[in-house]
Subunit: 237 residues, 2 copies
Amino acid sequence: MKLHRFIGDWTLGEEMAIRVAEAEVISQVKNVLRLGRGDQLILADGGGQEALVTITDFGRGYFDTRVEEYRWAKAEGEAETTLYCAVLKKENFELVVQKATELGVKKIVPIITERTVKLGLRFDRLAKIAREASEQSGRGVVPTISEPVEFSSAVANLSVGTKTVILEENGQEFSASIFSEAKSRAIFVGPEGGWTEAEIDQAKAKGLSLAKVCNFTLRAETAAIVASFLLGQSYEN
Amino acid sequence: MKLHRFIGDWTLGEEMAIRVAEAEVISQVKNVLRLGRGDQLILADGGGQEALVTITDFGRGYFDTRVEEYRWAKAEGEAETTLYCAVLKKENFELVVQKATELGVKKIVPIITERTVKLGLRFDRLAKIAREASEQSGRGVVPTISEPVEFSSAVANLSVGTKTVILEENGQEFSASIFSEAKSRAIFVGPEGGWTEAEIDQAKAKGLSLAKVCNFTLRAETAAIVASFLLGQSYEN
């Protein structure tokens, strides 16, 4: 049986007993998972540390646990990875955040492009989706989701050491060699309507790589999921 | 402006005028896209041929078009690709069918595994999703979706020439070399609960490769989307 993981504000590493008072976790443990005294779960601090704990007691508005073992969550890949994704329809962007989290992306930046139609993401909801996807996928670290940024300023502010790819139907076929040995990687995914010529020119002027990942036209959210996978791969060989 | 594509039962290749009488297409053209005389669209036969047509006239229950040009849809990859995916919750399996279609998978086989919980896919809906995703992605060919098959008989019936990968968390890291030069490829994606030991043993006995595509635990539908991407890639250098 797989143990359930919860990511929260716990201070891990010292105490041999941890009291859990987060209403959402308590409700999940009691009402959904129906765990009781003696059952085990994992508490993670979102910074990479985890504790395997056993429930010892339930109180009003809390439960107590005994720490069996401290350990580190599954290692994150070494590379810094950022997915720049055009703001999409709410449910599509939520899907992207969930999948990017599972696939190990470290930073998600919603971007506003010339053809971006939708705005108004709910950041509280996105943060919750990222936390839950981290819990489920065994990630120790929750990706950061930044405020939306204009495409042009995102491109302008890219650091020199970041190997950056713009997904574009007319680009070259994506090649693993683009990311090999890059310690910092980013992929830009455009909106349904695609990039404008001006945006492509801007990317070229900055020296970014234009690449496609499929011969067919992908929906933006599909491209973003594939991009998340490509960001997370190891390209050593 | 990108032209809209419709896949239907048209006989393409000879006539210079095509009458469209499919109620769904007519409704889409008139009510959703609001096209009129002189507007262009693409009719595709689902077998790889397309016609660029101009609307010439609307009648009761049909519209007429003039063929401007016959052409072939974007070429499909050469390899035969099959995604064997455990039957999932309805909306997740639908997502898989949509994304697998966009990413160029040619055949989707729902499989029943020991830990498959959900059954009862709606095949008419899945076929519609595959057709619409093909239309949108510019694919000339709609993937086939077969009836659900038991895992053990799917494995038993694999043809010798098919290079097959079972996605499994404890497998080796997926390597592009697995599929290079394979003209027929398949990937198996298990249910949320994972494969049983007996299933893994069966796969090993058949000589299939066990591979993982991520260090974290992926949801089944995420694994299936990544698998679809990997199936469709060209692995020549």
